[in-house]
Symmetry: C2
Subunit: 308 residues, 2 copies
């Protein structure tokens, strides 16, 4: 191809934003789509072309990265009024980066193919910081020829790509299993660290010891440390695991497969969400558990008595 690969990123949240600015940094023409005017203004200032409507942003795109929150949003931006397929050229490559149920990943791909498009299954992981650095991990399945065609864009946004074969759905399944583990490990880190605090254990020392021991997990080491530090700023929202562990439960239930640990973890995320913490950091599970036994959130000094 003589002209540079043109990308559209639909959904400029933490992960989509990182992908879009990484594409710009690589010198690739990039269009961004979001419903928030302030985000569009910021993207314009970064040198991208900003659009409020998917239909307006994909006519000359070679590849469309979908970075919205869930399957319902993905269907809306693709197939709804002003959806991307209304204006995309036939043969445009759609890379679905949303964590959705494997069954939904396949259904979306079939609808794209029926509209004359090429569908890739490309869930991502790595968080906002790595996304902004163009260093996410991509779990990738779908036609090799399409991956080859968009190689400069994939190169720009990711540090690592796991190619999982030609079939859409495979990457979504592996991502789902990853989310099962990550979600349970996050909730378990909250349970373990809060119990440790209740027992009077020095949390920093404990975290150091266990990070080098058989009890370690990526979540305990990298996200649990926020709880240890009393840092409850939002990195990843409670509702993400409400969604992702809900996907696990539903897909497993379709096979009659029992997921008792997943469901225990899901119950904690759901409880936190129902208590109004859905958009707060998932470390808030630790605060919720601490509240139940009348102690301050781990890593924090006791609050002063507000009545005095």
């Amino acid at each position: 191809m003589s002209k540079p690969l043109t990308s559209t990123v639909i959904g400029l949240g933490a992960m989509g934003w990182g992908a879009a600015v990484s594409l710009l940094r690589a010198g690739l023409p990039t269009r961004g789509v979001d419903i928030r005017p302030d985000v569009l203004a910021r993207f314009d200032a970064e040198g991208g072309k900003a659009f409020a409507s998917p239909a307006d942003a994909v006519a000359d795109a070679d590849v469309v990265f979908v970075y919205v929150v869930n399957a319902a949003q993905a269907e809306a931006v693709l197939f709804g009024d002003n959806g991307a397929v209304t204006t995309a050229r036939p043969g445009t490559i759609f890379a679905n980066c949303v964590t959705v149920a494997p069954s939904a990943a396949i259904a979306i791909a079939r609808r794209l193919e029926a509209a004359g498009m090429v569908a890739l299954d490309t869930p991502v992981s790595g968080g906002a910081v790595r996304a902004a650095a163009g260093e996410i991990t991509i779990m990738a399945s779908g036609p090799s020829a399409a991956f080859d065609a968009i190689a400069p864009a994939i190169e720009a946004i990711s540090a690592r790509v796991f190619r999982l074969g030609e079939e859409v759905g495979t990457a979504a399944r592996v991502k789902m299993i990853n989310q099962l583990l990550a979600g349970v490990h996050m909730a378990t880190a909250a349970e373990a660290i809060t119990l440790a605090a209740r027992l009077g254990i020095d949390l920093k020392t404990m975290h150091e010891v266990i990070s080098a021991s058989a009890g370690n997990s990526w979540m305990f080491e990298n996200r649990g440390i926020h709880i240890v530090d009393g840092d409850y700023a939002t990195h990843s929202a409670v509702d993400i695991f409400v969604k992702d562990l809900g996907i696990v439960r539903d897909e497993a239930a379709a096979f009659g497969f029992p997921t008792v640990i997943t469901e225990a973890a899901l119950s904690l995320f759901q409880e936190a969400s129902a208590a109004g913490m859905g958009r707060e950091d998932d470390a808030m599970l630790a605060k919720m558990l601490a509240d139940k036994v009348g102690m301050p959130a781990p890593g924090r000094a006791p609050e002063k008595d507000k009545a005095s």
Copy 2:
């Protein structure tokens, strides 16, 4: 000290055996205690002095390492008929390497001190292979002077020592939190890998991808691989986590602390134990889950129909 440090190891199971042979390899006089004649014969062949009774094995010991299975056995070998305190010299250092409840670790130490002994809280981790190589990790709390006095022995058996202060009970608490995490992560690995098998995911590729992703845990990476490989040989028994997660539940309950994820994992280990798998590898949780949905254990080909 001009004469070399003399050690007694009570309990020559997988971990105690490794410690005892590591002490011998370091050139330190070592006595081993076990109830199994074949194990004692093997220890004698290694150049150790073998005894069936703790009371016979500790009279000239500077340090006694206790490596039995649980708190009840520790109390028996220390304070029962022919227990070690009946013959140990006052001031003998007792290092309790058994994973016991923090409350039990403290109670045992108080009884040792009342008998004129010095008590150290030294739970270990690392498994049989690292134990045999003298490379376990020790979580260590208790009087510094006692640790200094037995430094050559500690050096011989461990690759890493986390010193957690002067108070007995601190190391047991940190070990308990480690076991909470390790036990939940093992059960979650079984749930995740078995579900992945049910969904038709290629397990080896999935394990490689997730080991490099946010869903990883030490247990998933190092023990889950046995499930992926269909290797259900016994490395660590189901009943170890029945015990250790039971300790977590009981100690947490004493504070009214809710441990819903621990209890979900414990329920799976208990179910496997009740089904007769207590002394089999904890990877058998995956086989148990597979049985529930009528599929072969992950990593294994379907069994041939035995009726034909």
